[in-house]
Symmetry: C2
Subunit: 323 residues, 2 copies
């Protein structure tokens, strides 16, 4: 089988997608695709999967409706299959969300690859394996791509896209274009890094938290509140880099690094920081300037403050319960 | 001078507070105290500080009004002084927010201590020094406490409270009670840890981000979007521990640790995780159960989803601009 990678269909022409494996993540993807108006063909080896899937979709539907359904979107546009070839028949995209067991991923991706039409990309929801590790048994690894979502996939926009050593550039590009077409916030990585990007950041925080519990320095409740009532209120609007851009005052990130750079040597976490070379300094400062895109620190502060107020208000209302 | 620590006034009886140092953090505190209806006496050695302070308070006032002003709250209830003894005269609480320079903090805290009435707690906004380090020159270090806010102090509820080796337990208790009285979310630490709690978590994430830029694995923009469009949308409602409690499905944190525990050995960050001993596992699982406080994983998922939707909606509206 030869795949002409320029032959992938236009993302806009896809009407049906396959969700292979329908646990929490796979079922979340199914709900999202349905809400975007697609027909979904689901596959799972467990007979208990279907009722669970339908419950999860029904539970997610009010949320999806409130964010806006595509024309024709319906919870009914899904069929559940136990035969893999039947599940991928005629689909324009395959999302694999099997359990995180490397051998299982390897054999399942090879099986999906064997029965899926050659001009269709197969993406894996894996949170931990590289496609290079997972694609070893597949006949056409060129169209196998990681498309890593965040839980719940029907509400969190982020998807990390990265190919393996054998993945074609065209397949990676198509996958990013496809996820963008369906409304996702896509980060396309140009090389495989264990944990991708967001999980590395999240994991660094989690590991430091575990160290603090281990040493009796903080409780679970304190660790959570330190985030929910602290920096967590800023992070939906400005990530860690822009946050520190603002910490530098009018001088922005450049001032921040020059002034607080020495604190990278402080024992403020168990993780040692990299050496703050001129190159690293320049990359961080220029990256923040690019992201600010002409907005002054004052304007960014105003945006941040408006977001924190709005977030605190809606969370306060939710906690107070229905009136 | 002898301080009877049981003689601190009731937090509810405080009517006037001093803000020593009125840069970004000190001015933010002043705005918060004013909004809560207090009279504020500010001190700063720089003649440019006062106009800047008044501009910051005016800029913060609409936000503070929208969150709700205390009866009698007014931007006018502030006086600015260049004499320290005058600034602390008659106040019920002192918040020091001088620049993060250890020698300066040491001498300034000693000076404040020398001129402040004995039954008044003096708190430092320091983000990086321990009170044990800072209180070395003070005559009565028993009433010197760290009260570490987050920027901007008038919007972020979190304050971390911790005493130094010479701080009395009564002073720490009073400080926590005071901040709670004025509506802050208080974390009281029972020992000094460099970076306290939230900054350690934030710093772990920041250091891993710097490593990724240093290695060319991610751009500044990707790092920020990985948070704002990913886990950052969950963190204002559920911190890192409860987030992973939900990642464990119906089995919660116990299942999560048993199933994903081995991933702590994966090279997902440059930070090594602690050994997952039975004791650590028990502390994490019990902490999550305490925090869930009877809410099932399903109920926590419903709370999380409602919050993500609300947060995405308000941020979407803010980004779309005024209609």
């Amino acid at each position: 089988m030869t795949i002409e990678h320029t032959d992938f269909p236009e993302p806009a022409k896809v009407t049906t997608v396959a969700c292979i494996g329908i646990g929490t993540i796979g079922a979340g993807w199914a709900a999202y695709f349905l809400a975007k108006g697609y027909r979904v063909r689901a596959w799972d080896p467990s007979p208990e999967a279907e009722p669970r899937l339908r419950r999860l979709i029904a539970a997610a539907w009010p949320a999806l409706s409130s964010l806006g359904l595509a024309p024709g979107a319906s919870q009914q546009n899904i069929t559940v299959h136990t035969d893999l070839a039947e599940a991928v028949d005629g689909v324009g995209f395959v999302q694999e969300s099997a359990p995180e067991v490397l051998d299982l991923k390897r054999s399942l991706l090879a099986e999906i690859d064997a029965v899926t039409a050659p001009d269709v990309v197969i993406a894996s929801s894996t949170s931990g394996y590289s496609m290079t590790e997972m694609a070893t048994q597949a006949a056409t690894p060129e169209r196998l791509v990681v498309g890593h979502p965040f839980n719940p996939p029907y509400l969190i926009p982020l998807v990390e896209v990265v190919g393996g050593e054998s993945t074609s550039t065209a397949a990676v590009k198509w996958t990013s274009a496809w996820y963008e077409h369906i409304g996702k916030s896509v980060i396309t990585m140009d090389r495989e890094v264990p944990g991708f990007i967001a999980n590395r950041l999240q994991e660094a925080l989690w590991r430091e938290a575990l160290h603090m519990i281990d040493q009796g320095e903080a409780t679970v409740e304190q660790l959570d509140r330190a985030i929910t009532d602290g920096p967590g209120l800023r992070w939906p609007i400005q990530g860690p880099m822009l946050t520190f851009h603002l910490a530098g005052g009018e001088g922005g990130m450049a001032h921040m690094l020059d002034h607080f750079g020495p604190s990278l040597k402080s024992p403020w976490t168990r993780l040692d920081a990299p050496e703050l070379t001129d190159e690293l300094r320049a990359a961080v400062v220029e990256g923040c300037d690019d992201e600010a895109n002409g907005r002054t620190v004052g304007e960014l502060i105003a945006e941040r403050d408006a977001a924190i107020i709005a977030i605190r208000k809606v969370i306060g209302e939710l906690k107070a319960g229905p009136r």
